[in-house]
């Protein structure tokens, strides 16, 4: 099932930064990395619920601001040796516009 929604322009997200999208199911963090790739995950760290959107973005990962868990943005999986997973959402850029599949 897909439910693509327009979120914002790509340029509205800072490079190596994020924006928060408020959805019915909870906040979704939409990230942009140095290669202009975008990723979207549930804005809650699997560890203690920290807002991942506020972490430092590097490569294809974000470091949670609360206790420095590293979460893979393309998988939602915590990097070893931590174990955990946060929900991942489909997101794409078309003509400079960011679209999010809000399921």
């Amino acid at each position: 099932m897909s439910n693509w929604k327009t979120i914002c322009d790509l340029t509205d997200i800072p490079v190596l930064g994020s924006r928060i999208v408020r959805a019915a199911s909870g906040d979704i963090a939409v990230f942009r990395n140095a290669e202009d790739e975008v990723f979207a995950v549930h804005d809650k760290c699997p560890h203690k619920g920290g807002p991942l959107s506020q972490g430092i973005v590097h490569g294809k990962s974000v470091t949670c601001p609360l206790h420095s868990w590293k979460i893979g943005l393309d998988t939602g999986e915590a990097q070893a040796p931590d174990i955990g997973c946060t929900k991942k959402f489909d997101v794409k850029v078309e003509n400079g516009v960011v679209l999010l599949n809000v399921m």
Binding site: I7, G17, Q54, G55, I56, T63, P65, L66, H67, P81
Partner: protein, 817 residues
């Protein structure tokens, strides 16, 4: 592009560590083939003694499982010994005819026990002590026979003797030297050790050389003859009289060898395609037989194989610890001493304690300990750092604990006897990790470094105050295998091999202005760093090149990026600045109005004499700042690695004891320093008299008013480990207070490593150094002061910026779907 071919001969600890490091740097660069003569995957050779003693099983000591090799696509040939290296065709040939081609070859062939050239040396029952097969042979012999003789009373020999004794054998150790372990111990310590081993039941023959091994009726060895004519019954003879690097293979291939395969500082042999590492290698005339140096070599070698071309191995200082349960022996450095050295000795024969420290020019150069070795790691660190011990001479002998009360960041609540702690004792108070968990992780996961323990257990990964304790646990669990890293040499993080000092120097020398420039110049290993290095780089850039380097918000920790403190539930707290803790009815009214308007759940007075509004939503922050700005209030930077507060007492304006106007002095200092970013947070205080109600004695800069002026104290800390500030200087005017304080803080800003508080910075460089610059050199002091003023010029309140700039304001808005 086709991958390069890397072949490794030898499948032991040094080689596999190199592969692990290499796979971290360049996982896809090489197609890797490994030949191991033993039928086992890589195991922890130094743990063979506990296996022999029956304290561990063979499975417990495997470091890399077969799955590990498969997972990394390593072509593993077990039980195949390489016979020949054909350098012309770049091929290695194994005894069973298997061949492999290489672009790079890594020799990690280790060493062999030195077998005495005496008649009978080849009899069944005569072995060295090197691998799992030897260990099994001893275990088997203990089951069937009675008499064991060990030749050589070195580390390995004694561990072998102890193991066979525990398995029920009658053991005699034959040693050619005057005392046992003469390469590690002096006579006094050795005598005590020998005595306690004798009490356990091991017999010793000193000054004894072996002339012949006698063949028994079964064809197996049955006795050992000494030069004195005496014959000892022996069903098994273990030769532990030293090791020989396995350099034959290289020698036959025409590579330069001496005792071992000669290598340079990047671990390359005379054929630059061929590297040698570990016990088979000889570096600057030394072939190491202990595991710690091998790990340092592995790091350098992997670096070079990954073509980073940085990192040199420059030799190691080693220490030894005997793994015989119940007996503690430690030695390091030049423990014998000489004509130009001094010794501090504590010798209590009936108490079973002996300690000798060897000093030269106020530096520790060697140590031997018997009985109580809990401070071994600490002495070893002092020795390697070549730190001057002049000011701790009187307490040096009594160990780290006695010293801990005087220097910061060494233990946790004075509890630093790691070896004596119970398994259930809590080590890391932040993450609730107890000793048993750490020891278990070290043993089961095969951890060797502090970083690995941090990653796997989370211990020491938050506030870091238990780092010293965790290092001690590592040292006591691993024994000689543990190599404590020198903190100022440590790379910033896994993204680079450079330490803080080199990175800052490059930024200054090469006039680097952006994070990508630094990463390019210094060959960063990751595309855009990580949450550890980026904030550090950002700080070094903006502090080295004020008004030139542009602050990168995405490389700031969340609190600094959003100019508020994130709380555990993801809400924020906001603290407006109150200069010197002095406020007005108008400011208080504005704060009260904000608290009402935004339904602030908690309003609290902070330790820094101001008011904290807690529980705010991110999207409300700019609106709150707008309201506070209207009342003339600015950010208190309660969130930053920056100037926090200047705490004051009321001083002579009101107090009947006050000698100076501490409030106005505090306001002047805080106004001057507004907007100062620093390696870590900076707190000041000004007290109006020596009663010191503003608690200036535990601040980064503490000012205490006296009748004739002010006393300035620096490098205090009221946090994790309380540090009393040290007296810097006495001055007479407000202007001097500002100049000296600013000069000290600017020096710290220019030289302190990121996340290093002033107390740690001063402990690192020494107060004398700071005094020399700030007190003795008026010109430098003025320059530092001026650089501080210059870098803070035109600093704009970040709250007001966010209020005015719609681009910034947008970052706080939530998007809707």
């Amino acid at each position: 592009m086709e991958k390069l071919k890397l072949v490794m001969i030898g499948n032991g600890m040094a080689g596999c560590r190199t592969l692990e490091e290499l796979l971290k740097h360049a996982p896809d660069m090489y197609e890797i083939t490994v030949f191991g003569a033993e039928p086992h995957p890589n195991y922890n050779r130094i743990m063979l003694s506990p296996v022999l003693a029956g304290e561990m099983g063979v499975r417990d000591i495997i470091l890399n499982s077969l799955e590990w090799y498969a997972e990394h696509n390593i072509n593993l040939h077990l039980g195949k010994k390489i016979e020949r290296i054909d350098r012309i065709n770049r091929t290695v040939i194994a005894s069973d005819g298997t061949t492999a081609q290489y672009d790079r070859l890594l020799l990690a062939t280790g060493s062999s026990p030195f077998i005495l050239p005496v008649p009978g040396k080849d009899l069944p029952g005569v072995i060295g002590y090197r691998d799992i097969a030897d260990t099994n042979m001893m275990i088997e012999a203990a089951r069937l026979y009675k008499h064991a003789v060990v030749i050589g009373a070195g580390l390995l020999g004694l561990e072998a003797a102890n193991g066979m004794l525990l398995r029920g054998m009658d053991v005699t150790v034959v040693h050619i030297g005057e005392w046992i372990m003469e390469r590690q111990l002096d006579k006094a310590a050795a005598d005590m050790l020998m005595q306690s081993l004798e009490q356990k039941g091991i017999k010793f023959k000193l000054n004894a050389s072996t002339t012949e091994l006698v063949k028994g009726e079964s064809g197996r060895v049955c006795a050992l003859k000494l030069k004195s004519g005496e014959a000892l019954p022996a069903d098994i003879v273990v030769m532990a009289a030293g090791i020989r690097p396995n350099a034959e293979l290289a020698k036959n291939a025409g590579i330069h060898t001496n005792r071992g395969v000669v290598v340079n500082d990047t671990m390359q042999t005379f054929d630059p395609r061929i590297y040698a590492i570990g016990e088979c290698a000889e570096h600057r005339g030394i072939a190491y037989g202990l595991v710690a140096p091998l790990f340092e070599q592995a790091k350098v070698c992997a670096n070079h194989l990954a073509m980073h071309g940085i990192g040199r191995y420059q030799g190691s200082v080693t220490s030894t610890k005997l793994k015989v349960t119940g007996i503690d022996v430690f030695s390091a450095g030049e423990f014998m001493g000489g004509d130009d050295t001094e010794e501090i000795v504590l010798h209590d024969p009936s108490g079973g304690v002996y300690k000798k420290l060897v000093l030269k020019d106020d530096k520790l150069i060697g140590a031997v300990m018997y009985g109580d070795t809990s401070d071994g790691g600490w002495y070893f660190q002092l020795l390697k750092d070549q730190q001057s011990i002049g000011d701790m001479r009187d307490s040096l002998m009594f160990g780290e604990m006695a010293h801990a009360s005087r220097v910061g960041d060494v233990g946790h609540a004075g509890n630093n006897k790691a070896a004596m702690m119970a398994d259930t004792a809590e080590v890391c108070g932040c993450n609730g990790v107890c000793k048993g968990t750490i020891v278990k992780a070290i043993k089961e996961q095969g951890l060797f470094t502090l970083d690995e323990v941090k990653k796997h257990t989370k211990a020491a990964s938050s506030c870091g105050s238990c780092t010293g304790l965790v290092e001690q646990i590592l040292a006591s669990t691993l024994g000689g295998a543990y190599q404590q890293a020198n903190p100022s040499d440590k790379p910033i993080c896994g993204c680079t091999d450079h330490n803080h000092g080199t990175v800052r120097k490059a930024i200054v020398d090469k006039h680097l202005l952006t994070i990508p420039d630094v990463m390019k110049e210094l060959a960063w290993k990751t595309p855009n760093g990580c949450a550890t290095c980026r904030p550090a780089l950002n700080y070094y850039l903006i502090s080295s090149w004020p008004h030139e380097a542009i602050d990168d918000p995405q490389s700031r920790y969340i609190n600094e990026r959003h100019h508020a403190n994130i709380q555990k539930d993801g809400t924020y707290s906001v603290v407006p600045r109150m200069l010197g803790g002095v406020t007005t009815p108008n400011e208080l009214r504005a704060i009260a109005d904000v608290a009402d308007k935004y339904k602030v759940p908690t309003v609290k007075v902070t330790g820094g004499q101001r008011i904290d509004l807690l529980g705010l939503k991110k999207e409300d922050l700019p609106k709150i700042w707008e309201d506070l700005s209207k009342a003339g209030m600015v950010s208190g930077h309660a969130y930053g690695k920056s100037i926090r507060t200047v705490k004051t007492c009321v001083g002579s304006e009101h107090c009947r004891f006050g000698t100076q106007k501490s409030m106005s002095m505090g306001v002047k200092l805080e106004t001057m320093l507004f907007g100062m970013y620093s390696p870590h947070k900076v707190k000041l205080a000004v007290s109006g008299c020596p009663r010191n109600c503003a608690e200036a004695g535990i601040k980064d800069v503490g000012v205490i008013g006296v009748d004739s002026g002010y006393e300035i104290y620096v490098a205090g800390n009221g946090g994790i480990k309380t540090e009393v500030a040290e007296f810097l200087v006495k001055v007479s005017s407000d202007e001097e207070v500002m100049e000296y304080s600013a000069a000290f803080l600017q020096l710290y800003r220019e030289e302190g490593y990121y996340l290093e508080r002033t107390c740690h910075y001063v402990a690192r460089v020494g107060l004398d150094y700071v005094k020399k610059i700030i007190l003795d050199d008026a010109e430098r002091r003025k320059e530092l002061y001026e650089r501080m003023i210059y870098s803070l010029q035109g600093f704009e309140d970040p709250w007001l910026q966010a209020v005015k700039d719609p681009e910034i304001r947008k970052r706080y808005e939530i998007l809707a779907v």
